[in-house]
């Protein structure tokens, strides 16, 4: 064989192999479909608030869209995606007022079971906020909505649906309760600014009772979760904590956990978590128990709000004890707690890391029930203000994180982040 023929034939063989390995749609690694950061929104700025994962693998995200640059118009924004992050639909709920989303939960009992509850707060007037509960179906159609305005100003933080059809709203009143006399033990009683508010709704969304629980300058119910035949409400306040924490200082908040069966005002068991000389404000309480525990996350700071750190507490589901408590994220930068969710064997805690320029990054940490960290991850750009909203574990162990990311320093968009169970893409 002549040498050039040999070379040419070799070249043809190698060429065929090259062609055979040509990258096409069919042979590229689809990892970009499975693990991602995806953004949602259209015109306007979009702030993520919460999400739920449906049994069919779809995700419904709720947030707030803000239109305009000077005169701001705010509306509740809902988007549904599949697990590859593809948007299936989005809806903007109509309103006569500026309105902000607070929570979304599936309805598990009552005539609307299978649909979804969206909790929002709308600005009825200056410094007057009312609560709205909207029922949507799986297509995002608004079926009905109910306003709650039994006080001058009130704000909802979470909604809980129970299998019996009863629902709970947790939040706070933001008008001054001049009639309260529960601070008489304090050296210098200040005006009551906030009370925590728990509303129990019948399956027809009418109020069965509401409790405005005072005794504090500032405080709020954060979440209500079932625990056996009873319920736990998780809250924060600067009230006197029944001599468990003899804190006289104004604005010295602590985490509060109370177990009740009917009337939250006369709670059977109370637990407290926090320090004597620092401020701990709860922002989230896990919806589901993990190994007979619940977890709360919030922000610890000095009384003036400086030196923020993420603070968490794990309590037994019967509120018999505080299993673990303390600062979970601290360092050169500051941190603020955002959300917590129970995974299969650990808690997923979400916080914001705040740099010296006051820009935030989303900080995710997975921790045991003893608050021992397993791993953590940070998302965001140094010069942009990015913040977390919620986290959840998928049935296969993958992790979904919801947040808001500021893109190019110009606009906020809802961000859905999907990770492997070990926190990598």
């Amino acid at each position: 064989m002549k040498p050039y023929r040999f070379f040419v034939e070799c070249l043809l063989i190698v060429g065929s192999l090259f062609l055979f390995t040509c990258d096409t749609k069919n042979n590229i690694d689809p990892v970009f479909k499975n693990y991602f950061i995806k953004y949602y929104g259209e015109d306007g700025n979009h702030e993520a608030k919460d999400f739920i994962i449906n049994d069919d693998g779809t995700v419904i995200i709720v947030g707030t869209v803000t239109f305009g640059q000077t005169v701001l118009t705010k509306r509740v924004y809902i988007v549904k995606t599949d697990l590859e992050g593809n948007e299936l639909w989005n809806k903007t709920l109509g309103s006569d007022f500026n309105e902000e989303a607070a929570d979304i939960e599936p309805i598990v009992g009552g005539p609307d079971a299978g649909n979804f509850l969206i909790l929002s707060n709308f600005d009825k007037a200056t410094d007057q906020t009312n609560i709205r509960l909207t029922v949507i179906n799986s297509s995002g159609d608004s079926l009905r909505s109910f306003n709650y305005a039994q006080y001058l100003s009130l704000r909802g933080k979470s909604v809980t649906s129970t299998t019996s059809g009863v629902m709970y709203l947790a939040g706070l009143t933001t008008d001054i309760d001049a009639g309260s006399d529960k601070n008489v033990l304090l050296n210098t009683p200040p005006p009551i600014l906030e009370d925590y508010l728990i509303i129990r709704l019948r399956s027809d969304y009418s109020i069965e009772f509401d409790d405005r629980i005072g005794g504090s300058y500032e405080g709020s119910a954060v979440n209500i979760v079932p625990s056996g035949s009873s319920f736990i409400y998780a809250a924060y306040s600067d009230e006197l904590t029944s001599s468990n924490l003899p804190d006289n200082n104004e604005h010295e908040h602590n985490f509060i956990f109370r177990l009740f069966s009917n009337n939250p005002t006369s709670a059977a068991v109370s637990l407290f978590s926090g320090s004597l000389n620092l401020d701990e404000k709860m922002v989230a309480f896990s919806d589901k128990p993990l190994l007979n525990t619940y977890c709360a996350i919030g922000t610890q700071s000095d009384f003036n709000g400086a030196n923020r750190k993420a603070y968490a507490a794990v309590v037994s589901s019967t509120l018999s004890s505080v299993i673990a408590e303390g600062v979970v994220l601290s360092g050169a930068n500051e941190y603020e707690g955002v959300a917590v969710a129970a995974a299969s064997t650990s808690y997923m805690l979400l916080a914001n890391e705040i740099n010296t320029a006051n820009k935030r990054d989303i900080f995710f940490v997975k921790m045991s029930t003893g608050l021992v960290p397993e791993f953590n991850i940070k998302f965001g750009a140094v010069e942009n203000d990015d913040r977390g909203a919620a986290a959840a574990e998928l049935p296969n162990g993958d992790i979904l994180i919801l947040g808001t990311m500021q893109l190019a320093g110009q606009q906020d968009k809802i961000a859905l982040i999907k990770l492997r169970p070990n926190g990598t893409f």
């Binding site: 090259f18 590229i28 970009f32 995806k38 953004y39 015109d43 893109l407 190019a408 961000a415």
Partner: protein, 367 residues
Amino acid sequence: MGFLKFIVGLIIISGISIRVIAQEERIDCEQTLAMATEEFNSGRFYGIPSLLKPCVDRGFSREQKQRAFLLLAQTYLLLDDPISAENSYLEVLRANPEFETDTALHPIDLVYLSKKFTADPIFAVFAKVGGNTSPVRVIQTVSPSGQPVNNEYGLRPGFQIGGGVDYNFTRFIAISAEAEFGFTSYKKTQTRFSDDLLELTANQSWATIPVYVKYTFTKGNFRPYGYGGLAVHFLNSENGKFISQKRDLSDLNPVILPEKESTNRSLMEFRNTFNRSILIGGGVRYKYGLDYFFVDVRYYFGLSNIVSSSSSADYTGVLPELGHADDMFRMDNLSISFGYYHPFYNPRKLKQARTKSVLRGINKSSK
């Protein structure tokens, strides 16, 4: 100073003197060559080698040397001294590697002798420089948004510099290898979130090693050629500059924010550095002495997805900062180069004489 002037003057005078002497010798040798030709034509062959020897040793120009050794080759053939004839013909080729006998001009025995030899270059080297542009071929659109996005890729100019070597299997066919350093660029404009714009201008630097088979026409001053082969590309760097603009046009009060430009930043985190392509190309060589100038047009068909498959996943880079995710894409490249080609002629005797074409040549010339 005076001594230096003296030395310089001496060198100049010596140079001029040498040139003059060489010129005179060439004139003398031209006369000698004419005499030798006359002797040959008169049938007096035996004295020709000794007649030409002084000029062969030192006086012939390249062209005279070609004629002299051609005469000597014919002489030795007639004197039945084939070894000396072959040596003389080799000298003809050394004097002019592109010399070819012609059945219409040269005696048939010389033509047959010439078919035992070749001066075709085995190796040739070349260098080139030129411009290029790189079309992007998208394999899979990756939307950083949950909704589809509209991506448009634009062409941008680049340039490349390179050199290579030809290994000639025959006078027409060569296998070539090159080392090429290229700078390419492309522009991506994305419309998303209804009307927002994100524009990326990316600049890449590559090291490319193409290997290909080349066919070259070998007659005339302009010699076209074509080739096809494979190439491997190493992406050394890719830097991109982003311009983003928020545009809310559907609102009753449309908002268009000023464009915001990012600093230049590396995109190598999401690039596969090793890539492959097939290439085709062609060009024309223009004969310049024994070397060539050439113009070459080439197209690389990218085979590799140059984007790593995790382009939609990023903790702190361009995805969280700007909302940029790369599509999966291959990159082609169209280039035009101008260069210089230098063959290394190698006069040598063939293992097998190429005599098949002689009869064809005779028939052709007799017509």
